[in-house]
Symmetry: C2
Subunit: 200 residues, 2 copies
């Protein structure tokens, strides 16, 4: 009887092994053999799933993006306007050890994305999706009178997204200053700004 | 008579070759041989200057950091408070093609920094230096009555620095939306916020 292999499960195991390796020692020095070994597989076991390290890094990015979005949906369920935005920020900022590890993988992906048109397209799509959510929540905040009717949702969506993405490198480059608590204070200060725009 | 070699000049040539290679095809795929070739040197010519690719990437980061700071000093000379902050932002945001290329190298450096204690220390020092400048300009803005006396300079320095750093990946991931013009509008909107804090 042939051995039954759950291919989705294998892909996930390889992605999780890649994630651990990126966090521990970076992707550039790791070989496909290292990653197979980390996952407890034979050397040749990766190729049927991921042809290249770039493919595996992309799958790792997508894994993190989906996990982040699942957390966000749970966190923002039944919320709207600034309350939903606050939930989004709490899930996307690296405010706990697991999210800090995801930030390291996100940075490794960014570091390679500039020269990879497929990676650029995937990351552009994910940024555009988040930006649309932020715009929609800002529009709700206007409807609910939480912020000024004339608030420029486009520029404020760009600012909030840039802040959320910028928090990833800051938390890694200066973990002493950009602590979980300080990142939370920053985003709350920023949201207070929006609330203050009621009378603009 | 021995050939006289200007070692500083050679180091600079190698750094500039590394910069071009990172922009064109990324660092991870490039070999030391590729970089020597790009600089017009023999294969073994890099080792006396840079032992490893990580050393060369660090030197490239430091080259960009020094160039950015030289431009900032020229731009902010004789300025203080929010005018100096505006000059800083115009030089650190990727608002022209040359700065966009520097952003690509900055990202490549960040992508590797998380696993390299020496790189982390250098980048932490440079972030800390910029943060000190931002704090000082905010303190001047308070003294000059440009912003509220009670403005929290620490949290606003963190926000401005995170925005400036976050603009680097955004300009690369979504060049259509995060255009030079849009990046400028974002930072001006943010500085307008600070001005509005006069009556807080």
């Amino acid at each position: 009887m042939p051995k039954i292999v759950d291919h989705d499960h294998r892909r996930t195991e390889l992605v999780q092994a890649a994630l651990r390796i990126v966090v521990r020692s970076g992707l550039s020095g790791a070989t496909m053999r290292d990653i197979a070994h980390e996952a407890g597989f034979a050397n040749g076991a990766i190729k049927p799933y991921f042809q290249t390290k770039a493919d595996l890094l992309l799958a790792t990015y997508e894994h993190i993006y989906r996990a982040t979005n699942a957390r966000m949906r749970a966190r923002t369920r039944g919320k709207r306007g600034l309350a939903a935005l606050e939930g989004f920020a709490e899930e996307v900022l690296p405010v706990n050890p697991a999210l800090h590890e995801e930030a390291i993988v996100f940075l490794a992906f960014l570091g390679e994305a500039a020269q990879n048109p497929e990676h650029l397209q995937v990351s552009r799509n994910s940024m555009e999706e988040w930006r649309t959510w932020i715009r929609d929540w800002l529009a709700e905040a206007i409807d609910d009178g939480e912020v000024a009717a004339g608030l420029d949702v486009d520029i404020h969506a760009d600012l909030l997204l840039t802040l959320a993405i910028g928090a990833q490198p800051m938390s890694i480059l200066d973990r002493q200053r950009f602590t979980f608590e300080n990142l939370r204070r920053m985003v709350h200060r920023h949201l207070d700004w929006l609330r203050g725009e009621r009378d603009a």
